[in-house]
Symmetry: C2
Subunit: 297 residues, 2 copies
């Protein structure tokens, strides 16, 4: 004989009533709405919905919040391994959890160790500790780009104007890659994109990169021909490097978050800071090799 969980004024929500047996096992759910609209002689056992969506105590809070949001539930019962009702998560908890998870994602995407405290309540020491590890890791990785520049020192000193295009090329590469990775990371978080979308994402990013790359490349070609009259080879070098950089950056930015997911890493790690570091080295290699070929340095 199912018993009815008592509810009252002190309960946070009374709109989902969970039906349990004597050993507290969850049998079903009946909403107050169903109760109110039911006939007077109906019994709870008939009214209740036995296919209850529930979470177990060991489940991730994010998963619980996502279930609440997905099925438009007001509350979600929490059961133990033996399917005994041990608690309820309500929709207002879910909003807090979702907000908190998004904040965490954003912090990771900004190369910061996530902190649960609000910004203003976090001490300077704590903030510095959360940030220094990634700053150090990325700074050391950036030495690869420095090494590439060192290798091409002769070319750069022979034609110093080449140096002036470096920030534009590496930054545009970083921006192009970050655009792609951010959209894919968010898509993965919202479950709009999954691992099986690897090739659709890659082909989309290649398409977008060809369009954006062409426009940016053409702009540079024309600008350089105007600023350095007749220097078509320089214009072609920078324009060509720009096109290849955008293509590389968007391909890497698009697929790295998916690859991270595949290997059970947080895709949010594959955001702007890491993408920028990888793309920097790549764009310098592309640019300086094209320069060496075209300008016979």
């Amino acid at each position: 004989m199912p018993t009815f969980v008592p509810n009252g004024e002190d309960r946070e929500t009374i709109y989902s009533c969970y039906v349990i047996d004597k050993s507290h096992k969850l049998l079903g759910v009946v909403s107050v709405k169903d109760l109110l609209l039911a006939k007077d002689d109906a019994i709870v056992g008939d009214l209740m919905d036995t296919s209850v969506i529930s979470v177990t105590t060991v489940e991730d809070q994010e998963e619980a919040a996502r279930l609440l949001a997905k099925y438009d539930l007001l509350a979600l019962p929490v059961v133990d391994k033996e399917n005994r009702l041990v608690g309820i998560i309500t929709i207002d908890d879910a909003i807090d959890v979702l907000n908190q998870e998004t904040t965490e994602d954003m912090q990771i995407m900004a190369a910061t160790k996530p902190s649960e405290e609000p910004y203003l309540k976090t001490s300077v020491m704590e903030l510095a500790k959360n940030r220094i590890v990634w700053l150090m890791v990325l700074m050391i990785s950036d030495m690869v780009s420095g090494g590439i520049l060192g290798t091409f020192e002769d070319a750069l000193t022979a034609l110093p104007v080449l140096i002036t295009f470096i920030p534009m090329l590496t930054d545009t590469g970083g921006n192009a890659g970050s655009q792609s990775s951010t959209l894919v990371i968010r898509g993965l978080a919202l479950k709009e994109i999954s691992i099986k979308d690897f090739f659709p994402v890659l082909s989309k990013e290649i398409g977008v990169a060809m369009l954006c790359g062409f426009v940016l490349s053409l702009f540079n070609f024309i600008r350089i021909v105007i600023v350095y009259p007749g220097n078509y080879l320089l214009a072609a070098t920078v324009g060509g490097a720009m096109f290849c950089t955008v293509l590389m950056a968007k391909s890497i930015g698009g697929v790295l978050p998916i690859i991270a997911t595949r290997f059970n890493m947080d895709p949010a790690l594959m955001a702007s800071p890491l993408i920028t570091t990888i793309v920097d080295a790549g764009s310098l290699l592309i640019y300086l090799n094209i320069a060496k070929m075209c300008l016979t340095l």
Copy 2:
């Protein structure tokens, strides 16, 4: 005499009952919980709460969602200018709105025009259109950094090793600034930070920058002394430039989103891509000027 809004099976929610008068003006709210727990002879006029939280039809959907989340409401009445009840927003709508607004924030933070369509359903042409404007704007802004490098061409060709530290300095500056701006942008979105926190944020960022800057700077100093034995001036130049770059980057990254808010701009614009572009130019100026002074180029 107040009348009771009829509710029933076809309604999305029946747990908040809004009390209106004959001209549909909103008088109060009574929850089903209160009704169920009330004495049988209680009248609705006594049970209802007359201080109803409501939104008007012209209000931003984000504001409505935030009110629902803030006050842990299941539903929020929507009224017209004459306080007549015209609709209800429910908590599940609010979750969708909050998710959508976060996605929009992230897209803007990645220098992309926000799109309401999921990534995989957006055409290549549309994605390219959303991205090209910011890529172009930032690329043109990056020419400032190119110009700075051009001005210091003599110094760079006289001591080419200087070139190899550029990616590390500009990228670390960009990363340091993005960390700060992302945390402040998110704090502003969650209303944890407001315009009046300008100075607390600035002083916190300066503190964090001094700690992080010191560690990164010391690391570089030691590394350079080891790799280029005895070249203390080069080590001091790079170390000093690193410290100043991190200090500048974190100050700018921390306060720009607040300044944007003050001028009614979206703080999310002041994210990684724009910060990186500004910080790049700043860090090159710092680095090359210190180099000129220390290394008497």
